[in-house]
């Protein structure tokens, strides 16, 4: 990027510059100059801060060209000039019928991708009439108990024409099985079914905590599904390895990067151990990152992620197919950065975060709504969030050229630093026995809790200013944002419906399918095929999860993971 000769000349200039700067340096506008992740940032970045960049090989090996190894500048040759990122907004609430109406509205407005949020009972493997589901049905997403609900959810929607993303993890196998059964009923061959499951159980233990079974059998559920999809549903993205929730739980940018990629490599290793060929499954793996408020730190994070994944997949796991080397990712703006105070300010936060995702080369983006710290987003707030993406895409000009910040001394130095720090975490994880051991021993959970508490203290000590929260406060502020509510009738209706489904199905067929699932869970067959059979017979999600709970046990967090900091 520059010659060694320059470094020598620069040294003298910098020394002189420093003498003058020192005089004004005493007066600081704030006590610390640091990122959202509490990383101190230098006053000035000059060529010497990018270590090794005086060698031509630095650019060729570390930065390179978009669509080429190691993909620092992007996964595609022409990026947004050929196709903009997918603007994918997450939706789901109440009964399947209500969400179906919302889906049809999205498709009518020109959308081709659907993104489904499920309620907590569905995510936790309980039917709507289970005692633990009380008060939670339809609240954080749509309730799905059986194939009958999935039939309603996708009624009138041709599954050969849409791509569906489903945010579900512990019970992801059941959700996909229901979806495939709907395709079967529509006469759509599995080869034409397209979509993505989140299906990332490791980050559940680490951060989001919606786990059911212990880690090892959970990994088996995932590898069984990967194997099935590789053979029969080749267009399905089986897993979206997610850092989003790790970050929301309080992790720093480097922790998000390192823990997420470590999870991804764990899935790769597990599938290889289960006898699968890396180039058969790896091209269908994708990632999901957070876009937090520190603009440059986030951009460096995405660039480092692409480089790390490419290097590991090629060099450590021996992947030969270039598609296996790609870190394709979805981005969502940081829900945890939004404030309940002066909620309209959140529109600006989301815009800046979304911009970092785009400058970081994301493949798809969800922008949060300004009212999310108050309740589920209202229609108007959702629309503003989507418009924010459209303004970035069509008005700002940032999509005209690929990876425009490459070559910035600051961005390249930060990208290198994040890669090195992530590598240091990988070494520590390995030293501690690997990802599963780190989960069981509470390592990730403690690291994240420590960062979360530090962040809170920085706010309370006013080292960190959050506009409207600890400075620029509007006294006597009345929050005037309409709040969306889920009718209590949703739970009543959903409970009645699952009971009706159970009463009307062929009970003997369900019993036989559940018995088969139990046998496979105990033994070594493919659990996904057994789950598919149960689904066809209208076995419920809760019944299937109960069988697996009985055979595999339920995961309880170790006390070491519950430590506050």
């Amino acid at each position: 990027m520059y010659s060694t000769n320059l470094l020598e000349k620069l040294k003298a200039r910098l020394a002189k510059w420093n003498e003058t700067a020192e005089k004004t340096r005493q007066k600081k506008s704030k006590p610390r100059f640091f990122t959202v992740s509490s990383v101190d940032i230098d006053e000035l970045y000059t060529p010497d801060k990018v270590k090794g960049a005086d060698n031509d090989q630095y650019y060729l090996d570390n930065i390179g060209l978009p669509g080429e190894y190691p993909y620092t500048r992007g996964v595609h040759h022409t990026m947004y000039r050929t196709r903009l990122w997918t603007m994918r907004q997450f939706a789901g609430m109440g009964t399947p019928k209500q969400t179906n109406e919302r889906f049809k509205y999205i498709l009518k407005s020109g959308g081709t991708g659907l993104s489904t949020a499920f309620d907590l009972p569905t995510l936790m493997g309980y039917d709507s009439d289970h005692i633990r589901s009380l008060g939670e049905v339809g609240k954080c997403g749509v309730a799905v108990d059986s194939l009958a609900d999935m039939e309603i959810l996708f009624d009138g929607i041709d599954l050969s024409q849409v791509s569906t993303s489903m945010t579900i993890n512990s019970s992801a196998s059941m959700a996909l099985a229901f979806y495939l059964c709907v395709a079967e009923k529509q006469g759509v061959p599995f080869e034409q079914v397209r979509g993505t499951l989140q299906n990332d159980i490791l980050k559940e233990y680490i951060a989001q905590k919606e786990f059911i079974f212990p880690p090892r059998p959970s990994i088996r559920l995932i590898t069984d599904m990967m194997e099935y999809c590789t053979k029969h549903v080749p267009q399905w993205n089986t897993i979206s390895i997610s850092g989003y929730h790790i970050r929301e739980a309080g992790a720093t940018a480097v922790q998000e990067l390192a823990f997420t990629l470590a999870d991804g490599f764990q899935y790769v290793e597990s599938a290889i151990e289960a006898g699968q060929d890396v180039d058969e499954f790896a091209p269908r793996l994708s990632y999901f990152f957070n876009a937090h408020s520190d603009f440059f730190e986030e951009i460096a994070k995405y660039r480092a992620a692409r480089r790390i994944v490419a290097r590991r997949m090629k060099n450590k796991y021996g992947a030969k197919d270039e598609r296996s080397w790609l870190c394709r990712f979805h981005t969502q703006t940081a829900g945890c950065s939004l404030t309940a105070q002066q909620p309209e300010n959140n529109i600006v936060r989301v815009a800046l975060q979304a911009l970092s995702g785009v400058l970081g080369g994301t493949q798809s983006l969800h922008t949060n709504s300004m009212d999310e710290t108050l309740a589920l987003p209202s229609e108007k707030a959702v629309k503003i969030a989507l418009r924010t993406q459209q303004i970035i895409a069509h008005e700002s000009g940032v999509a005209n050229t690929i990876d425009p910040l490459a070559g910035s001394y600051f961005i390249e130095a930060l990208t290198d630093k994040m890669e090195a720090e992530a590598e240091a975490y990988f070494e520590e994880i390995e030293r501690r026995g690997g990802v599963l051991e780190c989960i069981e021993e509470g390592f990730f959970q403690r690291e994240i809790a420590r960062s979360a508490y530090r962040f809170q203290r920085e706010i309370e000590e006013e080292q960190r200013i959050i506009v409207g929260v600890n400075d620029y406060i509007d006294d006597g502020e009345e929050i005037d944002i309409p709040v969306l509510r889920i009718d209590k009738q949703v739970e009543v209706d959903q409970v009645a419906f699952v009971q009706k489904v159970r009463a009307e199905r062929d009970e003997a067929a369900v019993k036989a399918a559940l018995a088969k699932l139990r046998e496979v869970a105990k033994g070594s067959g493919n659990t996904f095929e057994a789950i598919l059979e149960c689904s066809r017979a209208y076995g419920t999600l809760g019944e299937m999860c109960d069988v697996l709970r009985e055979e595999w046990g339920e995961y309880v967090e170790p006390p070491s993971a519950m430590v506050a900091s």
Partner: protein
């Protein structure tokens, strides 16, 4: 010197978002309180039983799933059933203003919403519990 304030912190329902409650646990601990954190997915029965057994001054509950209008009343009812109404119940989470007011009317001592400094909840507990101990 009065006894240390003893607080039971709990996550009821199916919601797994524990960032807030862990931050609160650390802040309360650093403010000199004795903190017992139950972990996730506690039923109202489990929470009240633990509070009685640990002889706490207060129960703090965090709910971000929207099930607060079901779970808080269930905990209050269980406290009544177990004759534990002398324990202070407070909470936090994504709770709309209207629900906050209704819950405080029902008997939840205080609901804290996002962005509240930890010092505010600490001072609230110190003040309220000192008054109760008099």
């Amino acid at each position: 010197m009065p006894d240390k304030i003893r607080v039971l912190l709990a996550k009821p329902g199916l919601d797994g978002h524990d960032r807030g409650i862990k931050v609160i646990a650390a802040a309360f601990r650093d403010a000199g309180m004795e903190v017992i954190y139950t972990g996730l997915r506690q039923t109202p029965q489990m929470i009240v039983a633990a509070a009685v057994q640990e002889d706490v001054d207060a129960i703090g509950v965090s709910i971000l799933s929207g099930a607060h209008m079901t779970l808080f009343p269930a905990i209050l009812e269980e406290m009544k059933a177990k004759d534990a109404e002398d324990i202070l119940l407070f909470g936090g989470g994504i709770i709309p203003e209207e629900d906050k007011q209704e819950l405080e009317k029902m008997g939840v001592a205080k609901i804290f919403t996002p962005g509240t400094p930890t010092t505010e909840s600490i001072q609230f507990l110190q003040r309220t519990i000192a008054a109760r101990r008099k």
